[in-house]
Structures are given as C-alpha cells and as structure tokens.
C-alpha cells in the first residue's frame, strides 16, 4: 500500500521548547488514520506543520512524492491536502452559501480570475448548493455563517475542507464542543463525505476515534508512542498508562452501571 503522507524525523522547536520530537508518521492511501494524545501533546502543532502554517525545525514531510515542508499553505492545499480547524475558522460575516462558494471557486482555481461575473457562473452556484445540501446546511443558505448554531458551524468548518475535494482530508477535532447527538451526526457526515478519501483526524472523543479509524497513532509529549489498529491500541499497556487509563476505566464503569 502506498503512503499518501509520510513524515520523517519531524521536529519543531518554539525557542528552546521542543513541541514535536523526531516524529515518523505514515498515512496510507485510503485509510482513516486518527491521531490521539493528551492536551498539549503536539497534535495541533503537527497539523500546522503538515499544512504549512509552521515550518519544521528538522525533518521532512512528503505528500506522495512531493516534499511539502516549507511550502506556503495555499500551495499545499492545491496539491490535494485540505484541513479543518479545531477553533472554528469560517467566514463569519459572509452567508453560508458564500462560505461554500469560496471553497468551490478556490477548488476550480478561479479565485483570482478577473473576467466574468461570479453570479453568472451557474455551475459554481449549483455545486455550492449541492455541497450545502450534503452537509445539511441548505436551509441556512442565506444566513451569515457567524449566526449559525455551533453544530452547524462545525459542519461548515468540515465542509469547507471537503469542498476542495482533496485526496487527503485533515480534520482537527471536528467533534470539539458538540453534544452527543451532534457528535453522532458529524461522525456519520464524516464517514459519508470521506468514503473515497484518505483521512487524518485529531480527536479527543474516543467514541469518535474508534468508530472512524482504521489505524491510530498516539502522541504524547511530542513523541509518537505507537501506531496500530484500534484493537492494538486498546490493548497496548504503554498507551493505557499514558493516555487511555482513565478512559477505559470510565467506560467499563459506565458499562457495568
């Protein structure tokens, strides 16, 4: 199986503080890969390194055969690697439709085209509406995105990434701050829209992780502890100790209670 994304020896210092240490990570074509770890483990930093927001201090990052560390975020996005954000990062003042249309225009490489009126480009309107419908956002089409409920803003956040039709989707805590029902809805949505794609997801909610992931990597203190299938991770003693201890106890407690 070929790797879509491979990190080799990726290290990031902020001043003297080593946030990410010598990380090797491989994401295989078509898999759903989850990245878990306690708060401050460096998961979001790793995302920011992969998507070009930060440049690694050492190490290399390849997307298929292209080396992408040090490239500008827009160039990385154009290669077919799109991300969503942990803290909602949508166009708050623009309508839901305009939000989605921005992504569609960008995907079609029309963003700096200065000939022709955008509203006259019917395929773009159609595709944007199709995507809104897919994310159950069509009823809110003309409302400013900032006024939506939190769950809908989350869906839009993920939608903006998926709308780019990337080969690799990176989702940074898509379930953050959602109620259990909303979480179930977004998991179903993610499963639907990433069916043909490779997924790398950061998530705290273990229900979400075990439902979605084919493979899981555990990050603690900037180091990859281990990578394996959900079953392997569940039974890994080091992982239990470092991270899942509380979680498994809680879960068995809830199950027996």
């Amino acid at each position: 199986m070929t790797n879509v994304l491979s990190l080799k020896g990726v290290t990031k210092f902020f001043g003297h503080f080593q946030v990410v240490s010598n990380v090797d990570l491989e994401v295989r074509s078509g898999e759903k890969h989850a990245l878990i770890g306690p708060n401050g483990a460096g998961k979001s930093t790793l995302f920011n390194l992969i998507t070009g927001h930060y440049v690694p201090t050492h190490g290399t990052i390849h997307f298929k055969d292209t080396r992408i560390d040090g490239l500008a975020p827009y160039k990385i996005a154009r290669l077919g690697l799109a991300r969503s954000f942990q803290i909602i990062n949508i166009f708050r003042e623009l309508t839901v439709f305009e939000n989605m249309r921005n992504a569609v225009v960008a995907k079609r490489r029309l963003a700096v085209k200065c000939i022709g009126r955008l509203t006259a480009m019917k395929q773009i309107t159609k595709e944007s509406e199709y995507l809104l419908d897919r994310f159950a956002l069509l009823p809110y089409r003309d409302e400013p995105a900032g006024t939506l409920g939190y769950g809908q803003q989350r869906a839009l956040e993920v939608g903006l990434a998926v709308a780019l039709d990337p080969e690799l989707v990176l989702l940074d805590e898509p379930g953050a701050g959602l109620s259990p029902e909303e979480t179930r809805a977004i998991v179903r949505l993610i499963q639907e829209v990433t069916e043909q794609k490779t997924l790398l997801i950061v998530e705290h909610d273990m229900d979400v992780v075990f439902k979605l992931a084919d493979r899981i990597s555990v990050l603690t203190y900037g180091v990859i502890l281990t990578t394996g299938t959900p079953a392997e991770i569940r039974n890994n003693a080091a992982v239990k100790e470092a991270y899942l201890g509380n979680f498994t106890n809680d879960n068995s407690g809830a199950g027996s209670g």
Binding site: E98, A103, A111, V112, C114, L160
Partner: protein, 327 residues
C-alpha cells in the same frame, strides 16, 4: 422590482449629470466636476478599504503620481492638439505600476502596519516630487497647459479652458471607471477579496494565493486612482506636491467615511458632501477645517457607517415595517 429601482435610479442620476451643465452656472459645473473626480478617487479607495479591508494612509501617492504622469505627458507631447485619452491613459498606467510596486512592498503587512507602510511610501514619493526640481518643478509644481488645445479622436478639438468640455470629459471617464470598478467587485477575484476581508487565513488554506489577489487589487485601485489624478490636472491646469501629501490621503479617507466606507456608492455621496461642505464653509470662515473636522467626528460618533449606511438602515427599516403591514 428592487433591481428595477436600482437601474432606474442610476439612469436618473446619469440623466441629471448630463443635463447639469446646460442649466447650471459655470461655477456649479466646476464644483460638480470636482465631485466627479473625487468620486472616482473615493471608489479606487473603496476597492482597498471597503471591499478588501486594506487600510491605506498613502492613497495620495496614487492620486498624485497619476496627476504628475499626466501633466508631464501633456507638457512633453508637443503636438499642438494632444489626444487627451492618451494623457489620461498614461496617468492611469503610471499608477497601475505604482500600485504593483506598493503592493509588492507591503504584501505581508496588514491592518495598522499596512497603513503606516503606505504612509511612509507615499511620503517618499512626495519627497521625490519636492526635490526633483528638473522633472517636477519642486514646490512650484507644474503649469502651462491652461491654454492648450487637446483632441478627442473622431469627435474633434477642444480648448482645455472650456469648462463644459472638462465636465463631460470627466463624466465619461468617470462612468467608465466606476462601471469597471463595479464589474471588478463582481468577478471571482472581487469575491475572493471579500473573503480575504472576512478571513484571510482561511482563504489561504482553501488554496488561494492571497498575495497575488492583494497585488491585483493594489494595481487595479492604482489604475482607477491614476485616472482620477489625470482628470484632476486637466481641470485644475496645475499640479503641485500638495497632490501627494498626507492631507490629501486623509481627505480621501474623510470622503470615504462621510459617505460610508463599506459601501460602493458611499464615496460618491461622500465626495458630494465634502466638496460642497468645503466650498461653502470656506466662504463663511477661515476656520472651515475646524467645522469639517467637527462634522466628521459627529458623523463617526453617531453614524459610523456614513451616509450610505444611514440610508441603507432606513431602507431596511421601511422594508421590515412594510412586511409587517402585509401580514
């Protein structure tokens, strides 16, 4: 219905503009010519601030470079009847290039840093105009075309001193420039600029080259501002470093804010109020600037969205009341 109302009012205003010099005095015509030129300048500023969210304190450079480029071409193209569109074209293209240069230099800056970088750049250009006497005439500026005859292809020759000619020339070029600017905001690029105003970070992560878009709006805004500078020297018959200095930049800002900086027609309303306010206040008192300042502050306090915002809110209110009435 709304669309018809919009088109109707545009046609109505254009009709008024065409008939204006035929019924009003030369002095009034002269004032409205100024309004037209400032409207174009204000709209070029709207493209940066209102549309893209880029705050510039150096817009005088765009205006002044266009004015100087047009003046120099008028002086050095010795043909007794220079085709006037060429003069205007030279002014516009000079500032298109100036806009590209500004854009390249300030590409990575935003907000107040951008504002002060543009201020510094415009002051540098002001200093060049002040010191390079051989080219620019220094603080005396340039004059010497008030008696010139210029030609318009196909239409014929005109004396620049003909006030009605100046007026219609400005009107035609202003209509073209404003229409182009409107179109510009409706293109995919125009849409991208709005996205950048709302969230430049996410725009980049969508795969948009934000810097390229920024460069393009700087260049296009320069083109439009340069055109207004060229029109201004055809009307004023002189150019001086004052066209380039800081107070000119802030005049543009004041025009935008009075009219409503976030609205496309804001600068047109702002230009009207500004020109007439300055004209009539300065005939009452020498301290007219104090009064303009007071007006500006009051407006900012009570109607930060400017006159256009005020009218927009009122229309919205009427509509809401109307809808309630229907129920």
């Amino acid at each position: 219905m709304r669309q018809n109302l919009k088109h109707g009012s545009v046609v109505f205003v254009l009709l008024l503009a065409v008939l204006f010099p035929l019924v009003m005095s030369n002095f009034q015509t002269y004032l409205v010519t100024q309004v037209i030129i400032y409207s174009v300048l204000g709209i070029s500023y709207y493209l940066l601030l209102g549309h893209t969210g880029l705050l510039s304190f150096g817009h005088a450079a765009f205006f002044g470079v266009g004015a100087y480029a047009a003046a120099l071409s008028l002086l050095h193209l010795v043909d007794p009847a220079v085709p006037v569109p060429i003069v205007i074209f030279i002014g516009a293209v000079a500032v298109f290039l100036c806009g590209l240069l500004f854009g390249l230099i300030v590409l990575r800056l935003a907000k107040i840093y951008l504002a002060f970088a543009t201020l510094a750049l415009s002051q540098m250009i002001w200093a060049i105009a002040w010191k390079w006497r051989d080219l620019t005439g220094g603080d005396d500026g340039l004059t010497g075309w008030s008696g010139r005859v210029v030609s318009l292809p196909v239409i014929g020759q005109f004396a620049l001193s003909n006030i009605r000619f100046s007026y219609y020339l400005c009107l035609v070029f202003a209509v073209v420039a404003i229409t182009l600017s409107w179109y510009f905001t409706k293109t995919p690029l125009g849409n991208t600029l709005t996205a950048m105003k709302s969230n430049p970070n996410r725009t980049g992560f969508l795969g948009v080259n934000v810097n390229a878009a920024k460069l393009m709006v700087f260049a296009f805004s320069g083109l439009v501002a340069g055109l207004s500078g060229a029109l201004f020297i055809l009307m004023k018959k002189m150019v001086s470093p004052h066209f380039l200095d800081m107070s000119m930049s802030f005049d543009v800002l004041i025009i935008s804010v009075i009219g409503g900086y976030a609205s496309f027609i804001g600068p047109i309303i702002g230009a009207f109020i500004y020109v007439y306010l300055v004209e009539y206040l300065s005939s009452f008192t020498e301290r007219w600037q104090l009064l303009v300042g007071a007006f500006f502050v009051l407006l900012l306090l009570f109607y930060p969205k400017g006159i256009a915002g005020m009218v927009g809110d009122a229309v919205k209110k009427v509509r809401v009341v109307g809808r309630k009435g229907e129920r």
